[in-house]
Subunit: 151 residues, 2 copies
DNA sequence: ATTATTACTTTTGTTTTGCAAGCAAAGATA
DNA sequence: TATCTTTGCTTGCAAAACAAAAGTAATAAT
């Protein structure tokens, strides 16, 4: 597949893929809130419309950030899982959390407080690794396969 | 000013502010490519349309990520500068660079190679501090004031 | 066999983005 | 001092993305 990029800049190119209202929210739902089926995504707090969800999931699969699969004993429910390329977005999610915690509380008064954010700040790299490891472990449980199922 | 947030989630709230095609590109132009006037922004590789640029700059000022000012001896040219809140976005820019470098080269063949990215990866926190310090130093030179001019 | 659930698609309307042109104020030039 | 150029926009219109609501097909549960 061919995608249009605005420039030779790596940052701008990343935003050509990730820079919209929903892509990183969907990644976050998968990584932090364990969402993995179409139904689960629609039930999230963000209330994404089904037509938009369908188009974004298709796009994410095309770009190689997620995979679409099924469990052997269920032909109805689809499983959407992060690939390595998708899991590699974890540091970005972490930095968005930190910036938000430190700069957005004045704008969004009802924003959730969490003790996790302090752990995150104290050692970002360790937090990223932990989240990625946890994600892979959960996937392994669900699919009944080992860690290399995502590779 | 009041802004609409989709949820209580800090990550989603960050994306309510930053999640579009242009906001983080403009931040990057300021932080990495030293752009600071309307003219300079329009001359960038990304070729942003003037109506969109004007509306995004206005929005960024409202949210407190940038300031709009003038030099004492020039009433024509406006100076757009990052605030502390804007400078705090540096880690996000860095992580976007890293992800792009490692995951987007297959999609965007003409993406720029840079030795800077290795320095960045070897110590992200140090790189972030260095960029922020450099930015403040440049601003101090331009405005003729000291480092605290942004605070 | 009937009902409910899951994963969408379709339709229609609104908002955001983009292109091209135009314009006013400030500054530079003759 | 008059006019030419630069800067920083705004306006009008077309295209694309986003959104709400309803509908549908396949599978699974009762």
């Amino acid at each position: 597949m061919e995608y249009k990029f605005r420039s030779e800049c790596p940052i701008t190119s990343a935003l050509d893929i990730l820079g919209d209202k929903w892509i990183l929210v969907i990644i976050k739902l998968m990584l932090i809130q364990d969402k993995k089926t179409f139904k689960e995504f629609t039930e999230s707090d963000e209330a994404i419309a089904t037509n938009i969800l369908a188009s974004k999931l298709k796009y994410l699969e095309e770009v190689g950030i997620i995979t679409k699969s099924q469990l052997p004993d269920n032909k109805k429910t689809n499983l959407y899982l992060l690939t390595e390329k998708g899991l590699a977005l974890t540091p970005i999610i972490v930095e968005l959390s930190v910036w938000s915690d430190e700069n957005l509380r004045e704008h969004n008064k009802i924003m959730k407080e969490s003790p996790e954010i302090e752990i995150m700040k104290s050692d970002k790299a360790a937090f990223v690794k932990m989240k990625q490891k946890n994600y892979k472990a959960k996937i392994a449980l669900i699919t009944g396969l080992k860690d290399n199922s995502l590779k």
